[in-house]
Symmetry: D2
Subunit: 345 residues, 4 copies
């Protein structure tokens, strides 16, 4: 049994991690930290875990040695504790943006916390694309949720040379990505009917997407990214608008995507005429590690549109952390990730 | 492996059954019927099952022999096929109201389809209360979803003699209970903001609740039941308003409920000060077989209020079918029912 | 032109008041106070008022003399400023609970702020029932939103002697009643799917309902009130469960209610077979001062159920303030209250 | 008083028209047609109109002569009745796509119903841009809702030469645009959590946008349009993604848009730092004829994003019909369109 601790376990990604890890056959949750809920049982802030464990939260500073630490701390939370964390845990998975980008790119997009000297590189956990790097990895960074969705749609097409490297990504997202801390924008009366493009330009995931595409395909794209809040709690739909490099119909990009995700258990390409619900949508993916995608082509305009749906808290965060953990530990990829999702929802 | 067929498997309770049965270690789904989707794969109407099975729907009339049949047909669907079904399946679980009530009561509340001569009695599957009858049962009827929620709250208090047998039940429910067939009342623009008491008096579950309470406790209550549609898809909250038989505080009813559901894995009593979300609510129960309940007493007024939350498609339908099936087959109660629910949702 | 000031105008009832008063032909809004938004234009926190006025918020303490002051301050806000407010305004309408109850009842239900010596009585503004007291009133208290809905359903039946004075009221409410200040319970991810009976017993509106019914009908009822949060922003549905004093069908209570609200422009009784949406529901009442109600009888059980729907921010708060103001000023009852509501919504 | 008839008045745009016209000081509603609800009062399918009128629906074929006819019939409904309608009404406003496009373009995008010989040209009612054509117009076509939103964002920038004529438009829309007829995709359990790009390529409004931009600016753009269903009933947010023709910051496009809509009462440009809700969103626009827009520029990438919000049933349909009618009748532009919208909602 791998002894796992969760740092910052009272938030939304922390809750999803606990749900999966407490039922995972290969790990034991030894500690879960929360300053706010220290002393309370895990199900105190996570009502779905009612009766699942008698473990109680400990303060962040009460962290003890473990085999693997998963950090759900917000931006800067892990980097600020890095000296101590590296003493306590041989392997670390971080869900924040602290270690996703190379130092220069980090400074460009996040400005603060350029990775200090002595802090090692983290492997970027995009399991369908970087799985081979994970078994040996000591330190792993989970992608940003909207970057993750965008990358799963963009990478196969850029790699196959089917799409011009000038892409517009219009991402729609629920409220849970903003975390568990109340504020005006997420106050229910203000958020319940929200349909607002809250970050039309300058979104930080832009740099993450461009850098990763370049690293994995050799082509540096220009990604024009906008994020829109929609009236839901969970889920992302990333719509990638592009143009084909030459006249083609849907067959070729369908093939490229199908090839890229052949034998990848969590990415599903929706083919024409196979579903009464033929569009990727995050609803039935809630709570799962699945990503659904579709591709549409308008041959008259050399236009291509890829839609990618996932659950921001799962495939976009905690699910990928467990997926990466499984690969790091040499276990089956799908362990602890068996939930199939609900319909209707 | 028990060979199970699902009759009427393209609807919402059918989808939930397939989700659970396809992953259940003790059963094999041999047939799933749907006239509308005959020839299509199971995931055609159930997008969450994408990639889970290559089985295809067959028409209802193509049903072949199996060990156990679960019927998700609407009112009258099973009774009309009874002669044939009894030939094909040794054991049957029905999710409709066809066999829940004794013939006289059925005729009183449903008017049509009084159980014809030659049709046997069905065991009423309220596992926390009738589990002992299930291992031997050949024919099993799953309770109505709102009756189920109401009964789980009422039974412990009536049995313990703590509550007067005159009860008001105000049940709130999402839209999925109405099934998958579109109509005006469930058209999204009409239903999205619905908060309407659509059945203030005369609801059919009234008779079911009164009869079952009488049979299981010996006391016949008067239940004054109203049903209100609320803006959600899944979930029921049944608020039971009653009066105590004598002055008491919360301790006694808490104890009575705790005793009733001791070692019952799917019913959870929320005790004071144990949760940041201390009220039973169906949100985090979606997709699970859990039922959460709470009790509140106003000693000044001898008033008692019990709130009961569950997922109408699961604990209120398909989950109880699987729960009953496990007991009928002598398997572990919780098999196939391990999903813990999501938070936030 | 009556010069009106709004105290605490940046919250949700303040926003509704401004929307109506800025377009009202008989009044001029001279000041609107907010400490948080002092110096900002009225449309800064109220996006629907964009371009409607160039007025800016002033701090609460910058209040100047006016003809009529409407206070949208929370509990205790007006009572704490009373000495100063009485100097500044000849007439006052308060939307909080500060002045709704007689001192003894206030102390019983609110504990703090028993009305201090020297503070005058306020007229309780239930326009369909207390309109005759309003023209002369200097000081007016607007009912609590859930009390208001309950009273409109209960009063005609108690007055007509048709219902036993032991009533269960199960009220369902959206999130806006909790105000504009963010907290965990109203954080969108926690509130979006909420269906929780957050106040099963002991709700403060109980006392308000019982006292007002007694005062207006001479009969003191026992009201057993519970409040349930449902997944919407605006709107209340109060379901009143009662028992008739003698066997009767729907005709008699329909007549009693129709009589009570004859020529009352804002209360509408839904009669059988007159609507494709025959149940009172707050959706199409959003933004209006209307209250819709229905009555159902189960003669077998001497049971009667009255459903009452309204918009908590309008008929339940700001709309009644304007209605009362019109009566105080001798203007047409419906002035400024012409909006008919939306369907679908 | 202008005598107005509404053809197809039982649907959602018909309901909005009736709400406005019944309260309009310059018109009298003489007939409202519906085959389904013939003989019922207007408030039968429109609960918000309860008590507003005693008029009853008549069948479509019972239409009598009037001064002005507004048709809310679906695609083909008016064209099929054209011979008769032209006899009955001197002026006609059509809300369908029957007469929006020139015959060749209509045939390209709609395939059926190319305008038959003898059918006159209709004036395209985009009041902020074609107001001068309306006073003389006999026949008027209201734009498609998503085309309308897109055009209000695109036109000022193309006319000012600030944006390259290759544009991606990602439009998000609620369910009411699909009309009042139930179907599976709009069945509440299927639609409540929908976030699906249901028309990634080939949307018919593409041709409408391109043609109108060319006619009004002389520049023919390529518009790459996708439509996404989001979990709401009313409202459109059109996000226009473009590239500037030269390096510039926000000041210039802000000026161009401000100039275009100077003294246009229904289009509001949200300037930086003027609102706690600084993004255009359709929520507070529900029921109004307003359109809110914003512009953002990323000077590093010569990128420009315009967001445009409106209510599809109002500014996108019935509101523009009334706006156009006011101009046709020489009345004040804003008559009957005074509702300011709600917040929160």
């Amino acid at each position: 049994m791998t002894r796992v601790a969760v740092l910052g376990a009272a938030g939304y990604t922390g809750g999803e991690l606990l749900r999966m890890l407490l039922a995972h056959p290969g790990v034991e949750v030894v500690q879960a930290t929360s300053d706010q809920f220290a002393g309370k049982r895990l199900d105190y802030p996570h009502p779905n875990l009612r009766g699942m464990s008698s473990l109680r939260f400990v303060p962040h500073d009460a962290l003890e040695p473990c085999d693997l630490l998963v950090s759900c701390m917000p931006q800067g939370g892990l980097i600020n504790r890095w000296a101590r964390v590296r003493e306590l845990a041989g392997r670390v998975i971080d869900l924040s943006a602290d270690f996703r980008l190379a130092p220069a790119a980090h400074e460009r997009w996040y400005k603060k916390h350029p990775r200090p000297a002595g802090v090692p590189g983290f492997v970027y956990a995009l399991p369908e694309w970087t799985a081979s790097e994970l078994p040996e990895a000591r330190y792993v960074a989970v992608p940003g949720c909207m970057a993750h969705a965008s990358l799963l749609g963009i990478l196969p097409l850029v790699r196959a040379g089917l799409v011009k490297p000038e892409l517009v990504v219009d991402a729609k997202t629920g409220s849970s990505g903003g975390g568990a801390t109340p504020d005006r924008a997420s106050h229910h009366p203000e958020r319940a009917s929200a349909l607002r493009c809250y970050k039309p330009v300058g979104h930080r995931h832009t740099g993450e997407i461009e850098n990763v595409v370049e690293r994995l395909t050799g082509t540096r794209p220009s990604v024009h990214f906008s994020a829109t809040a929609i009236p839901s709690v969970r889920g992302i739909l990333a719509t990638v608008h592009g143009f084909t490099t030459r006249p083609l119909d849907e067959a070729e990009p369908l093939r490229a995507i199908a090839m890229a995700y052949r034998e990848k258990p969590f990415v599903r390409l929706i083919r024409p005429n196979t579903s009464a619900s033929p569009f990727p949508e995050p609803g039935p993916l809630q709570g799962t590690n699945y990503c659904d995608l579709s591709v549409d082509v308008d041959p008259e305009r050399n236009r291509i549109v890829v839609n990618v749906a996932l659950d921001n808290l799962m495939k976009g965060a905690a699910g990928t952390a467990v997926h990466a953990m499984n690969l790091m530990l040499g276990r089956s990829e799908t362990e602890g990730l068996g939930f199939r999702g609900l319909h209707p929802i």
